[in-house]
Subunit: 194 residues, 4 copies
């Protein structure tokens, strides 16, 4: 059950970030893959369960790392998978799906972009089964802001490492370019396989 | 899509907490239901999207509340659903399922209890599709420690409000009594409907 | 430089909490003292500095524990020191001091109480040298919400462990009783020794 | 009591970061100054104290922003003040001071660098009056990891925005260059005015 790094290749279709930013980001993603495997190894290798404590314990440190690294892996994969299309109009099915929950595609877009500006980590458009609704979740960390049971449909990385090399503090331009480079066919697949 | 409070009734089968602790907890759960509905109302009612900002903005405050209240609702419901059985031996299917991922049922139990002691919020035994494995997630807040896409199977509330009225700082005894009062048939259902 | 637990004794002057709640709280305070000493020992004893990593490393776990346990000690001491007076009217010096920054003593009080209701950890009335002003800081954790360089003047514990044994979820009554049991002579001393 | 932005000018003495990285960082610092003033205005202008709530309330959002923006201002000022010297050997007074608490200057340095690698936000070498000791605090956010009452002596920004434009993910090189560009005379002044 070792987690194997997925292969994402830079191509001309990726317009939201340049190759340098892409490759720096890919190295960070690889770091999370390595860390979750290191952590899973530690958990399997007779950790000090007796000493477990919620103020500080070695075991607590490992468990905090587990949710951080695991989500670091998962969310980066969603992100890299859903960028890179030049033809980034959602089709009617997706449009209708978003409209049903947000009133209109445009209104969803405004909410998604605002959530990006309000977040320190990630934005996740997801389906939340509990309220039977779509939500634009705001995350401040890989593991802070996720919702239990929710199914990610579109993921945007707002960590500073996602854009700072290319955009410096011009966050708005990065978000704008992301919105123009979404691979909506991937989003559609995710909707259909819910 | 308003979230409606579920009805959980105290009964003699609930041995992990007494009626007073149960009812205080239920009032807090109701508070989360009310808050997520308040928040969903604010999000639907033309919030200030233009002013969105990740240091501070009114919209950011709402979005932080959203993931906190929503998970507060979801996790409490999982918790109340999976307590209250006097016959709390997992059957062979569940035993085998846990053994497959943790080596043995006993080893899973030790890890789950240690995770409870190491956590400030929740423990979630869940299935993580990314690594195709079971994990005992450690949460420090309702919305800090969840894993994207994961499916909760057994949930234990480690917030101080879950036990302090009855157990004061005797956290170990609360955990012990929880382990004796798990409704494993609920866990089995969750496994089977994955 | 070992941290030595301070001695706080329950007396009839402590009206904000009963003896049982006081003693449970005192045991938690003692736990933080023990933990920071354990952590300081680990830091002195050749920890794995080479492996330091911000996703997960043993050293990171220790450092996270350090700020949590240390503030757990400091803030509890401020709290226990500033409760327990039956004569809890601030004198004119203190009244004027609060009025100068908040407009009036009553207005400060309203802000302090509201901050308590809005916080998951602590409220700290403090002097902030940077803005040359008094602030009611809101903390969600022992080490989340403190301000660098600030000088605590009045500290209120809003962790659930501070009141749940006695008040259950009746947070408002706890805050109310705290406001009636502040030892303003201690606050005055803190102001004068700034 | 409005907070006024301090003036930091780039010069050839600043070797840890180039002008582009410096200026992007300066714009972010200015953003924090503007935000804390906005927040202080909101707090002064009759906020909704009645509705204060720790799950979500408008007031809670403002209070969370307050500690984040305020520390964002304070810590950036410490950081910009303590970089930019070409002659970056601490004198004997400082050397002895660090040695007294850490065993040796070299050992302090190893701990400080490891803390930088383990942190997502800041490292603060500070004096902690409670334990009468020096500590290298690890912060994950502007307002997460500070210690009450502590006095900052040397501050290093480890937010990704501090280095990513110039160093990409090469965090180690950034830390290395910081260590060579500390203005120890500033640190000495801070020690002497404690």
């Amino acid at each position: 059950m070792e987690i194997v790094k997925l292969n994402f290749e830079y191509s001309d279709d990726v317009t939201v970030i340049n190759r340098e930013q892409f490759e720096a980001h890919m190295r960070l993603y690889e770091g999370y893959v390595n860390k979750i495997n290191e952590i899973d190894g530690l958990l399997a290798d007779d950790p000090d369960l007796e000493g477990a404590n919620s103020t500080y314990s070695e075991f607590r440190g490992i468990k905090r790392g587990e949710t951080y690294a695991l989500n670091g892996v998962i969310l980066h994969e969603f992100y890299f998978e859903n960028i890179g299309s030049n033809n980034n109009e959602p089709d009617e099915v997706v449009m209708n799906f978003l409209s049903r929950f947000f009133g209109s595609y445009e209104l969803w877009q405004e909410h998604f972009v605002a959530t990006a500006k309000a977040s320190r980590g990630w934005v996740i458009l997801c389906y939340d089964p509990r309220s039977d609704s779509l939500r634009n979740l705001s995350l401040d960390l890989h593991d802070y802001g996720n919702a239990a049971m929710s199914i990610p449909l579109l993921v945007l990385d707002m960590y500073e490492h996602a854009y700072f090399l290319q955009y410096a503090d011009n966050k708005a331009e990065y978000i704008d370019n992301f919105m123009k480079n979404i691979d909506w066919s991937v989003v559609k697949d995710r909707i259909e396989s819910m």
